[in-house]
């Protein structure tokens, strides 16, 4: 293979470029990025960067003097992929890039409530975070829609800044689907401990205001006053540009366990990709940092070997979150009905380690401020329970 184009210049794209070079690819490498910025790290955007403890320069993912020998096309979005002997990627500035191999790493886009009002934010990019920070500095009341990790982390920072914070969540408890209702209730307690109001089982009817948001109207008729609203209701894969390309799309770009799509010479990584996970038996789109950092090495192998490389086993999905000075860590994949047990600490103290088991296997582990035991338990995920004991 003599040329590869990577579409997406965030963690997954950069990791793919590094992996290709590390695996001996010496051909022409083009990296396309829709944002104007060099690759930067997103997790601190809702944590240290929003809190003002990290600067934009601190977020740089590239090392000093790191040179991947790539042509960077930043500030232009991919608009289409034309299959064929040589793959052709069309770009928003009217130009195109041709390559023999393509890595799709276009990430995800924050879901919105469709409001045009000033003071309503989503948080996905550096520019989003800078705008939210500026707005929070002048605000007294923040309403967060969605009690996921982004919402929870922004709520924490806003409390630090002295704002009055309310979180509105549609589900009966935060993370009810991902972590199960018991653990969700335990995490809900973190907010209450720190003076953040959490309203669960409530949906938003409308955001109110003239030009600028002044409140959130709930379906049950309640109205919450707000100077700033952060909408943290998840993200959808950025795959519209692949329409008509022949690349198979489900919830994201459908890939096998090595990152290969149905189109020869095209692999996908990061938040936009749904790899087949043999441990779960289905395609799973994983929006975690670790997957974006680690899976591109497998995808690079798939691409350079023409699909002949046999992928190793997938590391279980892993995520972390910092909330009110507590470190929340989770690894694995849970399903309703998994058996949950507390192995360390206790729910009341909000410091515990919970293990999820299904059919004799450890399938997931959740740690709240238990980094040392989490490190050990994380390695047992997907092992048979007997062997893990």
């Amino acid at each position: 293979m003599n040329s590869v184009a990577i579409v997406g210049a965030s963690l997954a794209g950069l990791s793919a470029a590094r992996a290709l070079r590390a695996q001996g690819f010496g051909g022409r490498l083009t990296i396309v990025g829709a944002e104007p910025h060099r690759p930067y790290d997103r997790p601190p955007l809702s944590k240290e960067f929003l809190a003002g403890r990290m600067t934009a320069a601190d977020l740089a993912l590239e090392g000093d003097g790191e040179d991947l020998g790539a042509e960077w096309r930043l500030g232009v979005a991919a608009t289409g992929l034309e299959p064929g002997g040589r793959l052709r990627i069309t770009l928003s500035d009217g130009s195109a890039v041709e390559a023999e191999g393509v890595v799709i790493a276009t990430g995800a886009v924050a879901r919105t409530l469709g409001s045009e009002l000033a003071g309503v934010h989503t948080l996905r990019t550096l520019d989003d975070a800078a705008a939210l920070r500026a707005d929070l500095e002048a605000a007294r009341r923040l309403v967060v829609v969605g009690a996921g990790f982004i919402g929870a982390e922004v709520a924490c920072v806003a409390r630090e800044l002295g704002l009055d914070v309310t979180i509105v969540e549609a589900a009966p408890a935060p993370f009810a689907r991902a972590l199960g209702p018991e653990m969700g209730t335990a995490l809900a307690g973190l907010h209450e401990d720190h003076g953040v109001r959490l309203i669960c089982g409530a949906t938003v009817r409308a955001l109110t205001g003239e030009g600028r948001v002044d409140g959130v109207l709930l379906e049950d008729g309640r109205r919450l006053e707000a100077d700033v609203v952060l909408v943290g209701i998840g993200a959808r894969p950025a795959v519209e540009w692949l329409e008509g390309s022949g690349v198979e799309i489900g919830d994201g770009v459908l890939c096998d366990a090595g990152g290969a799509t149905n189109v020869p010479g095209v692999v996908a990584v990061g938040d936009c990709a749904a790899w087949f996970d043999p441990a779960v038996g289905t395609h799973l789109r994983v929006e975690h940092w670790t997957g974006a950092a680690r899976r591109p090495a497998t995808a690079a192998q798939t691409l350079l070997s023409g699909g002949a490389a046999v992928p190793g086993s997938l590391a279980p999905p892993y995520l972390w979150s910092d909330q009110y000075g507590m470190r929340v860590q989770f690894a694995g994949h849970t399903l309703p009905g998994d058996e949950v047990s507390i192995e360390e600490g206790d729910l009341a103290s909000r410091r515990f380690l919970a293990v999820y088991r299904r059919e004799g296997r450890t399938v997931a582990v959740l740690g709240i401020d238990q980094p040392r035991s989490f490190t050990r338990w994380r390695r047992r995920v997907n092992e048979p329970v007997a062997a893990a004991r």
């Binding site: 990791s15 590094r18 790290d41 601190p44 240290e48 403890r53 990290m54 600067t55 601190d58 993912l61 090392g63 000093d64 940092w289 670790t290 950092a293 680690r294 972390w320 470190r327 860590q329 980094p371 040392r372 989490f374 490190t375 050990r376 390695r379």
Partner: protein
């Protein structure tokens, strides 16, 4: 020289965090070697004493960059800078750390108390 703990109090495969400024992690490897490095990962605020010790390497509990305890060198991103190493001395069955006089490589947002 800072006293860490009695040698018998740190079994092989275990790590100890010293609340110095910045904190120092002392490791006793499965092979019986003792090493000390700054406890904070050079990438983001995480305690290496909480990490996974394997051979002469510790894996950061947060993002899995691995540091060589002998040299402080890191194997792969996200960490980009080596972690500072310190000398370990065992005297009268007690572990001591001789803190390095080089500047530490602390992650952005983490500062020493004196700085």
């Amino acid at each position: 020289m800072i006293p860490a703990c009695p040698l018998a109090a740190l079994p092989r495969g275990e790590a100890l965090r010293l609340e110095t400024d910045p904190p120092i992690a002392v490791f006793h490897t499965e092979d019986g070697e003792l090493y000390a490095v700054d406890d904070t990962c050079t990438h983001q605020d995480a305690s290496l004493a909480d990490g996974w010790l394997e051979g002469c390497e510790v894996e950061c509990p947060l993002h899995a960059s691995r540091f060589d305890l002998r040299t402080g060198e890191v194997d792969a991103p996200p960490a980009k800078l080596p972690v500072r190493t310190h000398q370990v001395v065992v005297k009268d069955e007690t572990i001591y750390v001789v803190p390095s006089e080089l500047p530490p490589n602390l992650p952005p947002g983490v500062r020493t108390g004196s700085a």
